[in-house]
Every structure is written in C-alpha cells, then in structure tokens.
Subunit: 321 residues, 2 copies
C-alpha cells in the first residue's frame, strides 16, 4: 500500500476483502486468474479516491465499498484487455493473464471482470448518476483505446488529439472515482463536482507522467520494457512536442512511423526526444494539471483528507513507477 | 427479417433505428465497424423476444425499445469477442470485425458495444430487476465461454456439464430477452416467469440445434466451415453421446483430443458421430426443450402472440442456418 493511503488503511483492506469475495468462483480457472490479478497488486488508486471523496459527505463505508471495488474491477478489466491488445507479457513485473493463460482466456476474463462490476453497481439503484457516469465512462474508455490504435504511427496528430485520447483512456475513470464516492453518500454537486474536476486533472497528469516514464525510466523500474509506446506506434506528448520543435524532427518522424523498429532505432528515437527539452515540457504540463487539481480541492470543506489528496496529486508527478 | 416476425415488423424497424442511433459515433473507425455489424444482419431473435414478451402486459414501445436494442448489443458484443477468441474470419457469410480490422480493434469494439448497452440500461432505474438480470447474465456468459475454453479437448465431460455450459453461453440471454420486455412494462411474476422459462427452453434448444448444424450442414449453408467445433476442441452433445455409445468411441476420442486435425480427420470424426444415432438423439433432446417451452406459453394470457411464439419455438429446431 502507498504510504499516502495510511489514513484509509482499514477501509482499503475492506475493499480488498470485497474484491476477493466478488471474485470467488466455483471454477478453478476463474479462481486462479482472479487470485493472480489480485496478487499482482496495483496502487488501488481508484478505490482510494472513492474513499477520499466520500469523506467529504456523511462517510459510510457500507455505502461506498461496492463502488470502490467496482472502480478497481473496471480498471482491472481494461488492463487485461489492453494486455491482449498490446501483446504485453509482463505488467508491474508480473506475468500478465494473457502471458499465463493465453489470449482467448484473457479476452473473456476482461469481460468477466466488467460484468462482475455491473453486479455491484446494480446495488446503487437509488443513485442513477452512478450508473450513468460509469456507463458513459466505459464507452469512452473503449473509444479512447480504439482511437489510440487507429491513430498509431500517425506522426501528424495534434496535442489536442493526444489530450482527448488520454482523457478517454485514463482521466475519465479517475474523475469518476473521485466523484462517485461522494455521490454514493448523497453529496450535492457543490461537493462532487470539484471532486470530479480534481480527479480529471490528476488523471491527465497521471497519464502524461506515465508516458514520460515510458521514455526515461531505468529498465526494471517500470516492470515493463522502456520505449514500449514508441515500439507500438503510440505517439505521446513528448514525441508530439519533439516532432514539432526539435532539430532532428525529420529523423524522428522516420523512426516513429516504422512498424518494426530495431532496439537501436528505438534508442535513437528516445535519445532525440530526451535531448530536445520534450521531457521537461511534458513535465511542466503535468504540473499545471496538478496545480489545477489542487485549486479544485480548495473548493471543498477543510478536512484532513484534503491535505492527503493534495499530496496524492503531487505523488502522481513525482513517482518513478 | 424472419417471416415469423411479420406481426412486429414496425417495432423491429424501430429497434433497428435505435441501434443505428446508439452506434452513431464521431470517429470514422467506430462508424465503420458499427455499420458493418448492423449490415451483417442476424435474426434479431433477442429484440423480437423482448417485443413479444412485452405484448403480454401493457405493451409500450417507448418503454421496451432501449431494452430490445440492449439485448442485441450484448449479443453482438459477445459475437465480436467470440470471433477474436475463435479466430473466426467469417460469420453469417460475412467477414468478421476481427478479419477486417484485426484482433486489437475487435477486442475493444466488443467492450465498446457492451458499454453502449449499459448506457441504455441506465434508463431503467425504476426497474432494478432489469439491471440485476442483465449483469448476472453477463457474468455467466463470460463464465460459460471461459469454461468452454478450459474444457476444450476434454472428452471426459458429462452431458450435465454440457448443459450448464450452453445455458451460460446461450440460453440465459434468450431467457432474459423473453422475460425483460414484460418486466419493462411492469408485468408481475405470473407473466414474466413463464416467459423467462420459455426463453430458457428455447435457448437450450437453439444451442443444441446450432451444435447439430455444425456437424451436418452443407458447406455454405452456415456461413462458416462445417465441423468448426470439433476443430476447436469444443465437445458438443452429439459428440458426448457418440463418445459414450458408439462402436468407434475409442477412435473418436483419439480424433477429438487432437489439437491439430487434418480435414480428413475432421471428416472421419464427423462420420463416426453421424453414423451412431447421435444426431437423432440430440434432436430429440432439442425437441423436448421445445415442448417444455410451449408448455410455459400455455400459462400466459391467450393472445395471438402466443401462437407466434409457439411457431418461433418450432422454428428454432427446424432451421437450417
């Protein structure tokens, strides 16, 4: 567990138990894959945000627990499907479901996890906003992934298109997490809207940082190979910046559009991006999102949770994994 | 459209329009894949059952249309994912999404369609049974597919296991279709429970017939190659029967467990199954399910729709595609 989450340690443990309970199954293959996914860990950022958000209005663990579990299940499902699509063999340093059980099982496990999340949301019939937000988010998440695939190897995409894409694939679910815990407890818009915007901004910063780390992390730190996005043709913020501004932009474009790149070519492209200020530029943008996230927090009641959420926002940019 | 559905022609057209509307998207790739799927057709059995069921209690097209579209979207999503998993290149004689756009797009299109269905269900907050049944059904559908994969090439499975599997993968969604149209219109259990059981029995017969057709259809009639299940190691009712009863059961078992079968080996296995009465036995079971489905209809008010539904049940066993 992240140090940051120490105040909600017990609640997060309750969510963990809920997840184990939900994923308990009669069939060995389902138990094995679920246990594998639960043990593979993850930061549990989304459940933590659900819990934090709920603290601002008549916090009730019973009410938010299924929701916190739901958000993690939706996230897990998207990771399992992404691993099928990206053909990734490791994540967080562990073998993926795809690597252990193959594409066919992984495709259905992703759908199984999504469906399991629906059984939990069904409990919130008195809060229609929850299913509205989550169904909308799910649509846009898939849409974001599809756009990412169809725009891969396209070196003419704009920063605006990049922002749209990362909002779909990452920020919307984090925004929903921050918003819906409060919604589940019956909070009004004056509470859940700043929370949602906080989540959106944190989510944007989170994905930009992820995209930066993919270009600068030491091998081993990420739990997956460096330069993976470039290899797959995913054009991220540092690359878009470098394609527009750096001296070697012609060479970078030639490398970026190559469907099969050698390790040397990936290294060369990474060097070009790293040497033209693209990383610093991207970090600055991430930090601007963090500043916006913190500004939203100031609209909320002055509780200790606000401080933790502010630290969580900083962590998103400072992390190395 | 099936001749059988002539009484609900206009309503089915309204559902078709609703589907087009729901799948309208800003991104060319999403519009193309959706249009492809809609044009690829299908019998629209599930929307038809939603409409039929609703006829038994204060029929209201506005109320049932989003639900009818939802059921078709869930079905479509499962087909798109199945084609990824089964590596199928054609379905209903048309190229699959997987064949046209690849595995990566197809995986996300499947999730996109599921998510779209959720946005429609969100409209039924006053009928919690609808989201309960559909979330439960979705879980079991994925579970059924996973069990099918993990039991493939297993020649020791029982008929009971086969029934469990086809209930998950096919009958539950058909049962939900028959049930939920009436639920959406506010019908009591005395109406929607017989409808659900009708759907279950029709669904079981439907899948058994599908599994039989996979072994006896003329090439070209199915829109996909004959013997596909055997090739993939899916052990269906006729094979389970033959493995238990026929003279050549040892040889059949040897062929069935082979992961890579030549065309001659598939033909030989099909011959063994066809020559031992397994097809007739399986048809008899399908017909028993149809008889049970019709018995459920007799518990419903005596409307003309009852006659159509009885004919629909017969059609399931009589069809050649």
């Amino acid at each position: 567990m992240l140090e940051l989450f120490v105040d909600i340690k017990d609640e997060l443990q309750a969510v963990e138990n809920e997840l184990s309970e939900v994923l308990k199954a009669d069939y060995p293959i389902l138990t094995e894959t679920s246990t594998h996914l639960l043990n593979a860990g993850g930061k549990r950022l989304r459940p933590a945000l659900v819990l934090f958000g709920a603290k601002f209005y008549q916090f009730n663990l019973e009410k938010v627990m299924p929701l916190a579990a739901t958000l993690e299940l939706i996230h897990m499902a998207s990771l399992v499907h992404d691993d099928v699509v990206d053909a990734s063999l490791t994540r967080r340093g562990m073998p993926t479901v795809k690597a252990m059980w193959g594409n066919r099982i992984a495709t259905h496990i992703g759908s199984y996890l999504s469906a399991k999340s629906l059984t939990l949301i069904a409990k919130y019939e008195d809060r229609p906003l929850i299913s509205e937000v989550l169904s909308d988010t799910s649509v846009q998440m898939s849409q974001g992934e599809i756009i990412q695939i169809s725009s891969s190897f396209d070196v003419n995409q704009s920063i605006r298109e990049y922002f749209y894409r990362i909002n779909c694939k990452t920020a919307l679910l984090i925004a929903a997490s921050a918003q819906l815990g409060a919604v589940a407890c019956g909070a009004p818009g004056s509470i859940y809207l700043p929370l949602r915007r906080y989540g959106h901004n944190v989510g944007m910063a989170f994905q930009i940082t992820d995209d930066i780390l993919d270009m600068i992390a030491e091998q081993g730190q990420l739990g997956k190979p460096v330069g993976g996005d470039l290899r797959q043709g995913i054009i991220t913020l540092p690359v878009i910046y470098a394609l527009g501004r750096c001296e070697d932009k012609k060479r970078l474009a030639d490398l970026a559009v190559k469907v099969h790149k050698s390790d040397d070519e990936v290294d060369e492209a990474l060097e070009i991006v790293r040497n033209c200020g693209a990383i610093e530029y991207s970090f600055d943008i991430a930090k601007k999102y963090i500043a916006k996230a913190k500004a939203e927090l100031r609209k909320l009641p002055d509780l200790p949770t606000r401080v933790t959420m502010s630290m969580a926002a900083d962590f998103v940019c400072a992390r190395k994994f």
